[in-house]
């Protein structure tokens, strides 16, 4: 068995209005503190937690956040080196970094490569300033192009951008312009997410007050179909509902999630999956650090999946993939439900698999709900 690692970097310079991720600004953690102060011993804590993980060989490592690119490459490199020394890496080990286009320099990029990173993903979100403003993002859209060019020049073999669609005030034309801007870049991969309004965020409050109005589902659906169409014409095929890649550039770390492989999440709030068990760490970085240094358990909660839940998860995740669902996962009554969806053009049958059509991908959760749980 192999074991992937997710490394959570719970820091951002500023919290974006739509974000409910487990991330903190230095000021939130400690009044008047700098990033150096709050993150100082964070890597030490992560390395201690690492000792609690199994020692299987590692096919992928993913640094997410937060903003991992806020930390010096050497700090992140310590984690990679420790994993390599302890577990060993496969020869083609994929090591990804989530990066903010604003906090990147050519020098930093070279250092990331040197410590072992071979894949980088920039948070682009949109090419339209008014959309970025609504999202509360600070970066200048022009910086994305610079960052991608620098990353390629530095030698990153696989480059991705993240996009968000369905922001209040974003038209289909806005989205098309964003896509054209993204696809003009020298990238290998795109992730695109429909904006989700999470409770407790600034965005949720703005919508509740009526300051912003969420686009309707029809527009969201059109936006999805547009990205799917444009990516395919550029040679980027969808391999999961929200992910498109040139051949050989699918994110193997994420594919591991959808194939229910084993992974270990390092850091506060990080989730792990070992065989049929899912567990996750305490959420707050300070609590996390205290517990780790005190030698205490940092697991907040865990769940042992039943065989039925495992099967449902396999369906829930598998149906999102281009290769589709294996028919052998499905019982006759589930096939019966799927038959009407097939009649209505939401899915196709290919040999031993059920595949979603583009319209089907848009209602994947509904289909899953009808046949599982």
């Amino acid at each position: 068995m192999s074991l992937s690692f997710y490394v959570h970097i719970p820091y951002c310079i500023k919290r974006c209005g739509y974000c409910d991720f487990n991330t903190y600004t230095p000021a939130e953690l400690q009044d008047g503190a700098t990033l150096e102060i709050v993150s100082n011993d964070y890597i030490d804590a992560v390395l201690i937690e690492l000792q609690r993980a199994p020692s299987d060989v590692v096919p992928t490592i993913f640094f997410g956040g937060g903003t991992p690119s806020l930390l010096p490459a050497d700090d992140l490199g310590r984690v990679i080196a420790a994993i390599k020394a302890r577990n060993g890496l496969t020869t083609d080990c994929e090591i990804s970094l989530e990066a903010n286009p604003d906090s990147i320099t050519a020098e930093k990029l070279s250092r990331y490569l040197e410590v072992g990173f071979n894949r980088i993903s920039f948070g682009m979100q949109s090419a339209k300033p008014h959309v970025l403003a609504t999202l509360d993002r600070t970066h200048n859209p022009a910086n994305v192009k610079k960052a991608v060019t620098m990353a390629r020049a530095a030698g990153f073999p696989s480059i991705s951008v993240d996009l968000i669609y369905g922001t209040p005030g974003e038209s289909l034309t806005d989205w098309q312009e964003t896509l054209e801007a993204a696809l003009s870049l020298d990238i290998d991969h795109i992730s695109a997410y429909a904006l989700i309004v999470e409770t407790g965020t600034k965005l949720a409050a703005q919508i509740k007050r009526g300051d912003l109005i969420m686009p309707n589902d029809d527009l969201m659906a059109d936006m999805y179909l547009l990205i799917d169409q444009l990516c395919e014409t550029k040679g980027m095929e969808w391999y999961e509902l929200s992910n498109w890649a040139k051949p050989g550039h699918a994110c193997r770390h994420n594919v591991g999630y959808w194939h229910s492989k084993n992974w270990w999440g390092l850091g506060p709030g990080a989730h792990s999956h070992l065989n049929a068990k899912r567990f996750w760490n305490v959420k707050h970085p300070t609590t996390y650090k205290q517990k780790v240094f005190a030698g205490e358990s940092i697991i907040a909660e865990s769940e042992q999946l039943t065989p039925a839940q495992l099967k449902d998860e396999a369906i829930m995740l598998g149906i999102r993939m281009r290769e589709g669902l294996q028919l052998e996962l499905l019982a006759p009554y589930q096939m019966e439900v799927l038959a009407t969806y097939r009649e209505n053009g939401y899915l196709e049958l290919a040999q031993d698999r059920v595949l979603l059509t583009p319209a089907g991908r848009l209602i994947a959760d509904r289909i899953v709900r009808e046949i599982t749980f």
Binding site: D218, G265, N344, L362, R366, R369
Partner: protein
């Protein structure tokens, strides 16, 4: 003191008719009947101050909260008149105060020789009071007009004295003025009851005849039957017989209420009290029936007995299908105490298993539902109430329709619907808007009279179906709450009625069918299809919603196919979260009903059919389960 200690007062079974006065109080809700009754209990000292509580005689929570009497009461009050110094027994028979219970009111009135007409002198007489007043006058009762709440700052006793005088044909100065709240005038009123209301007349030696004017189920004692003895005598341990059914029972206990039950030696001519036979079901002891003795039965029943006839039908369905057995048991139990309640199991493709229930009217329906929910912790959905239609087919066959889904498909020659004679009382400034409402509801104007300078009585014949459909709410809102309504049955009349079906994807949905006037079919169709278009979520295919009369489509909407139902992100930590979300949504799916291939949320049924209160309840239940 005019009060007489109970022990020294004339005793049951040994009170001469000449000493007895049987009276009731006719009043509208909140005109102060219960307060006046409390005051009478206090002044006659049958309840001492220490044990007094407000609305002493109202037994059920619902009665107290709503301030209405659902069941009648009979209390024996000893009283020494200050006019002649003699001892009397006053039997105060309380009457239910709502249009649905006209028959029960009429039986209570039949047990009395006189009535106190109690009117709030800040509000004036209301339609139901007027109707009951007419009923009392038809029964030849002596009416004592009484203006209550004279202590209120906005009281207008002179104005309403004139109004009452005109109605009953007396002089304004004959109207008695009291304050139930302060007690002013109440002792004098008791003296007037003695002086004005005739003593009961009956033949003590004739075969026993007693009128049942109420019948209440008590979980410890079984059915308690309230009676007024007309002739002869009822004694404990005696075999008695119900005239209508011929069924024989033993009178295990005979007593009076004063105001708690006191078992005694029996009841003689003119007396009012209760008897217990051990039966468990009020339907065996029906209001209006005559009780006689088995050994010496009367040949002639007291006049006026009627079987209770449900006028309004509605489906009651448990929100949670698993509660069906609880609902069944609850209805069985409730029926023990409510001879007018009828029900039979009903299954709706849309709402699952429930009961088709028949009620005397809307209030009766509301009370039953509230008791089911409160006393049995049920969460119910009730379908839009409808009346009973009589459908005559071309071949002469007749079909009684209590549920639109039973409306026959074949060639219909005629449809008959119940008509009621309604009386509306309101300030005259609202005449226009009331007439507009009644015309819109297919009313026929019968007449209009000013009952005082600025108040009118408007009489209309109206189809009961129109009243059942939010008429009362409309009347109240159009008259700023001042309008009041009463109605009585007036038989059936032919109506130009059609059944409108609502079709989802070509399939009729039973719960949405309605019988409406042909002129209103189109607007009903538009309204319902429009409502459903909003209420039914988008499906995996386009869903046409149609309204149809027979095979003719009269309105059409469509719900476009769903386009998006997916969460874009699904990484490590999202997986558990997403699984849990899907599990929860799956719970929500259980509240979906499949209509053909269309999923319809229960909320849609409720919102399309039921009251605002229902809608709120479903929302609350949904919230609680999230």
């Amino acid at each position: 003191m005019p009060a007489i200690p109970l022990a020294k007062a004339p005793q049951p079974a040994a009170t001469k008719p000449a000493q007895i006065r049987n009276f009731c109080i006719i009043a509208h809700i909140d005109h102060g009947k219960s307060t006046l009754a409390d005051r009478m209990l206090g002044i006659t000292e049958v309840v001492d101050a220490r044990n007094m509580r407000a609305q002493y005689l109202d037994r059920m929570d619902i009665e107290r909260e709503r301030g209405i009497t659902i069941k009648s009461q009979a209390v024996r009050l000893p009283w020494r008149s200050s006019l002649d110094g003699q001892e009397y027994i006053l039997n105060m028979i309380d009457t239910p105060g709502h249009v649905d219970f006209t028959y029960e009111v009429s039986r209570s009135l039949a047990a009395c020789e006189g009535a106190v007409l109690l009117v709030d002198c800040a509000q004036g007489i209301e339609a139901q009071t007027l109707a009951n007043l007419y009923l009392a006058m038809e029964n030849n009762l002596t009416i004592i007009p009484v203006l209550n709440k004279i202590d209120l700052p906005n009281a207008q006793p002179d104005k309403f004295a004139a109004e009452l005088a005109r109605l009953i044909g007396c002089q304004p100065e004959d109207c008695f003025r009291v304050s139930g709240k302060t007690g002013e005038g109440v002792a004098e009123l008791l003296d007037q009851i003695v002086a004005q209301i005739p003593a009961p007349v009956g033949d003590a030696n004739a075969p026993a005849r007693a009128l049942i004017f109420d019948s209440v189920y008590d979980s410890y004692r079984g059915v308690v039957t309230y009676v007024r003895v007309v002739d002869g005598h009822l004694s404990p341990r005696e075999q008695i017989q119900m005239f209508s059914t011929g069924v024989r029972h033993e009178a295990l206990e005979v007593g009076v209420i004063s105001p708690e039950p006191v078992a005694g030696k029996g009841l003689g001519v003119g007396e009012v009290g209760y008897l217990i036979t051990g039966v468990k079901d009020v339907r065996q002891s029906r209001v209006g029936d005559t009780i006689t003795t088995y050994n010496n039965p009367t040949k002639k029943a007291l006049a006026g007995y009627k079987d209770p006839k449900p006028m309004v039908f509605s489906g009651l369905f448990p929100l949670d299908g698993a509660d069906f057995p609880i609902l069944r048991d609850a209805l069985d139990k409730l029926q023990l105490n409510d001879a007018a309640l009828v029900y039979e199991p009903e299954s709706s493709a849309a709402l699952g298993f429930g009961f088709r229930c028949g009620f005397l009217g809307l209030l009766h329906m509301e009370i039953v539902r509230e008791r089911l929910e409160r006393e049995h912790k049920l969460n119910l959905i009730s379908t839009a109430p409808n009346v009973v239609y009589n459908v005559v087919m071309d071949d002469g066959k007749q079909v009684r329709v209590t549920n639109p889904s039973e409306f026959p498909d074949g060639k219909v020659a005629a449809v008959f619907e119940p008509i009621v004679k309604s009386t509306i009382l309101a300030p005259s400034e609202y005449i226009g808007t009331i007439m507009e409402l009644c015309q819109d509801r297919r009313g026929t104007l019968l007449g209009m009279d000013y009952i005082s300078e600025d108040r009118v009585e408007i009489r209309y014949d109206l189809p009961l179906a129109e009243i059942v459909f939010d008429f009362f709410d409309q009347l109240k809102s159009r008259t700023k709450g001042y309008g009041s309504l009463d109605y009585e049955e007036k038989g059936d009349a032919e109506g130009n009625l059609v059944k409108v079906d609502i079709l989802l994807q070509g399939e009729a949905v039973d719960a949405f069918s309605a019988i409406v006037h042909r002129d209103k079919a189109y607007s009903y169709g538009i309204m319902m299809t429009g409502k459903l278009r909003v209420l039914i979520p988008r499906q995996q295919f386009e869903v046409p919603i149609q309204a149809a009369i027979g095979s003719r489509i009269i309105a059409r909407e469509s719900i476009r196919a769903i386009r998006k139902d997916v969460l874009a992100k699904c990484y490590g930590g999202d997986i558990s979260r997403k699984r849990k979300l899907l599990e929860k949504q799956k719970e929500g799916k259980k509240r979906m009903k499949m209509v053909g291939r269309v999923e319809v949320p229960q909320e849609a049924f409720v919102a399309a059919l039921a009251t605002d209160a229902d809608i709120e309840k479903v929302k609350a239940a949904r919230k609680a389960s999230q």
